[in-house]
């Protein structure tokens, strides 16, 4: 294992310190925790937004703390859900008198730990609501299983819930908006090379020179199946067929599109994927109103990518276009330093 590290047990702590040093105008830490909060707190009376999960998904989740997105991000160990006491610290920091929305990705550990934290917050008289992101179409949705994972589509939830909260609407309205995103967002990804969890020291799986894993999540776990590597065009077509079928997308639809690198994919290769996604959408007469391309929700140094489509309707476009100012995502803000 070759990693840029000092002490593997201090990895999360060291990384949080580094983020704060690099983005002092955005981030600060709740003392004694792995919680990052805004340097300049949101106005009193506005709904707070808390997200989080295991580390290793950078820039998620701390990179999205700031105006127009999150109020607090709770970091667990690498690929491990944070604990309820840490999440509670995030909720406290994000509470400005109007309650807190928790954005949870659908993983057993995340759901349980956030649920316990909600109970603890209720004991302190803090009102919370939560949404569970489950955008990954690689996994069969079923009442009898854990269901689908939450992956890159989560960033659209952060963006739109964050914009709604900034507008001053109440907790229920922010929750409804976040749920509307979840109902209309789908993703799927693949890996060309695995990643290594630093504490484990070994890759989570191995692939030969000609193999790839289809339908991976964001924790280095194997996907739904292994196959021979294919040209970017075929991969884009496969992902988009799965996503659009699930979303029941029709010609004339408007979407926002996220082309997401998993951590070790050169941007030139992401751009090739983007070109093919564009060609597919054009052929199907689906309009892309917004495109984000880059690393938004990663899986350490995994090579690969995911594609996310969000069907736009109602006011989603407006909230997606609203200003935000965070370390990882800045738009519509005038910079004056």
């Amino acid at each position: 294992m070759k990693k840029l590290l000092d002490n593997v047990e201090q990895l999360v702590d060291d990384a949080l310190e580094g983020l704060i040093w690099a983005f002092p105008e955005y981030l600060q830490r709740v003392p004694g925790t792995h919680v990052l909060t805004r340097k300049k707190a949101k106005a009193e009376g506005k709904v707070g937004i808390v997200s989080g999960g295991g580390s290793g998904h950078e820039p998620a989740h701390g990179g999205y703390v700031g105006y127009g997105m999150l109020d607090a991000a709770v970091a667990g160990e690498v690929f491990t859900s944070p604990t309820p006491d840490q999440i509670l610290a995030g909720i406290r920091a994000a509470h400005h008198g109007a309650g807190v929305l928790l954005v949870i990705k659908n993983y057993t550990g995340d759901v349980m730990n956030f649920d316990i934290a909600k109970d603890l917050a209720a004991d302190e008289g803090i009102e919370t609501a939560s949404v569970i992101v489950n955008d990954d179409v690689a996994v069969e949705d079923s009442l009898y299983t854990t269901g689908r994972r939450g992956i890159a589509g989560t960033v659209f939830v952060h963006k739109i819930a964050g914009a709604l909260a900034e507008s001053g609407v109440n907790l229920q309205a922010v929750q409804n908006g976040a749920q509307m995103v979840i109902d209309n967002v789908r993703s799927m990804g693949f890996a060309l090379a695995p990643c290594t969890v630093p504490a484990a020291g070994k890759p989570t799986f191995t692939l030969s020179e000609t193999e790839m894993e289809m339908g991976i999540g964001i924790h280095g776990e194997p996907g739904t199946h292994r196959q021979d590597i294919k040209p970017a065009r075929e991969l884009a077509d496969f992902l988009l067929e799965r996503i659009s079928t699930d979303l029941k997308l029709e010609s004339g639809s408007h979407v926002a599109c996220l082309i997401n690198g998993m951590g070790a994919t050169p941007l030139i290769e992401l751009a090739v994927l983007a070109k093919n996604v564009g060609a597919w959408l054009t052929a199907k007469q689906i309009s892309k109103d917004v495109v984000w391309m880059g690393e938004y929700m990663t899986s350490l140094e995994m090579a690969g990518a995911s594609v996310t489509l969000l069907r736009l309707s109602g006011e989603l476009n407006k909230w997606l276009a609203a200003p935000c100012d965070t370390p990882a995502l800045r738009q519509g803000v005038v910079y004056d330093r």
């Binding site: 295991g54 667990g76 160990e77 690498v78 690929f79 491990t80 859900s81 944070p82 604990t83 309820p84 006491d85 840490q86 993983y107 057993t108 550990g109 349980m112 730990n113 649920d115 316990i116 690689a138 996994v139 069969e140 009898y144 299983t145 854990t146 994972r149 969890v197 504490a199 484990a200 070994k202 989570t204 799986f205 999540g217 924790h219 280095g220 776990e221 194997p222 739904t224 199946h225």
Partner: protein
Amino acid sequence: MTVEQFSLLWQCFAQRVRQNQGHLDDLDRAIGDGDHGTNLTRGLGNVETLWNQSPDQNLNLQALSKKVGMTLLSTVGGASGALWGSGLMKAAQVFPASSECDDETFVLWMDAFVGNIEERGKAHVGDKTMVDVMRPAVNWLKAIPQDRSLRARLHELQELVQQYSQGTKDLQARRGRASYLGARSIGHVDPGAFSSALWWECLDSVLGG
């Protein structure tokens, strides 16, 4: 069950998990993200220090169940931390606030502990999780005539526990991160079931020894 035995149980469990950390990580790497052993070892290491730092003789069973639960809840992380931690914290109320309890109460405590795990994880037997070891083991203890000592029953249970744990190999996961693999999860022992079997092994060595 006495306070001393209860504390030895967790110290034994910490030791056995540490000895098996690499194997548990390997099992998890096959169907998850490869950190089950690492996470449990970290949390149980914190549980061990409860006694190293302040060997508090005044703690009763109820308080100890809560304390161990809180420690695991706040230091393991992931699903395991939430399940072991909240399971212990909620089951604490079944214990008396005293330094020992009879066998019947201890079996009731185990039943509550496992019930909490099932409720929190929404898992059933056959889902390829820790419940595949925990539930049948407790049920077996409850079903076997109570006139036999708990010590003897626990000892006899060990072989079954191994079967329960190994039995998860043929199952397709329906809960937890392994469920995302679908049919690919078949053929690997569930790491949570394997670590749970270590807990039963410790119970036997503490109460049976």
